[in-house]
């Protein structure tokens, strides 16, 4: 399942889940929109991982947890710590990032 971040509290979610994959997104970002259904599909196959979509515009504190210099950025976190990130609109690249952490 994919959780949409509703407040600037990504750190709390990262702290309370073993593995977290975050999609930093924005409402006007085309590639973010394109990736969203693909992320949802991946999340439905990997129930042990917490997937979060964070609005990079609305939640600056949550954005600081990864280097977000393009959108969409995908970041992985394990046991409360940042692991890796990638900017992509390619499902295969996202899958590799997730496989690396799972």
């Amino acid at each position: 399942m994919v959780q949409e971040l509703e407040q600037d509290n990504l750190q709390d979610i990262i702290d309370s889940n073993d593995i977290v994959v975050v999609q930093y997104s924005a409402t006007w970002c085309g590639n973010c929109r394109i990736m969203k259904p693909k992320v949802k599909k991946l999340a439905s196959e990997l129930e042990a991982i917490t997937f979060v979509i964070a609005d990079a515009e609305k939640f600056p504190e949550s954005r600081k947890l990864a280097t977000v210099d393009n959108l969409p950025t995908f970041a992985t976190f394990k046991k409360g710590a940042f692991v890796n990130q990638v900017q992509t609109n390619k499902f295969d690249v996202l899958k590799e990032l997730v496989e690396e952490i799972s």
């Binding site: 924005a26 409402t27 006007w28 970002c29 085309g30 590639n31 929109r33 394109i34 990079a56 515009e57 954005r63 600081k64 280097t67 977000v68 210099d69 393009n70 959108l71 609109n89 390619k90």
Partner: protein
């Protein structure tokens, strides 16, 4: 995200209707489900969709009374403010 493209699309919305843009976005987003799409084709679609969403955001501000130039600049500031560059 390209300001001249967003400006052009904003003018198109003013002259016509935003429904054209919304339907085009829906069509392009649906097109990305084609599995044989090349990476560069996906990049182009993503960029086009971003510019169209950008134009809709700008038009929203214009409708609310913001002058067009200011709306364009405000939107681009929002874009830059969403990333750490």
């Amino acid at each position: 995200m390209k300001l001249p493209v967003i400006k052009h699309l904003s003018q198109f919305i003013e002259d016509n209707d935003e429904d054209f843009i919304i339907e085009t976005i829906e069509t392009l987003e649906n097109l990305t489900e084609v599995s044989s799409l090349k990476d560069e084709e996906l990049d182009v679609i993503g960029e086009l969709v971003s510019n169209m969403y950008g134009a809709l955001e700008v038009q929203k501000m214009v409708k609310d009374g913001t002058p067009k130039k200011e709306a364009l600049n405000t939107f681009m500031s929002r874009v830059l403010g969403s990333i750490d560059k």
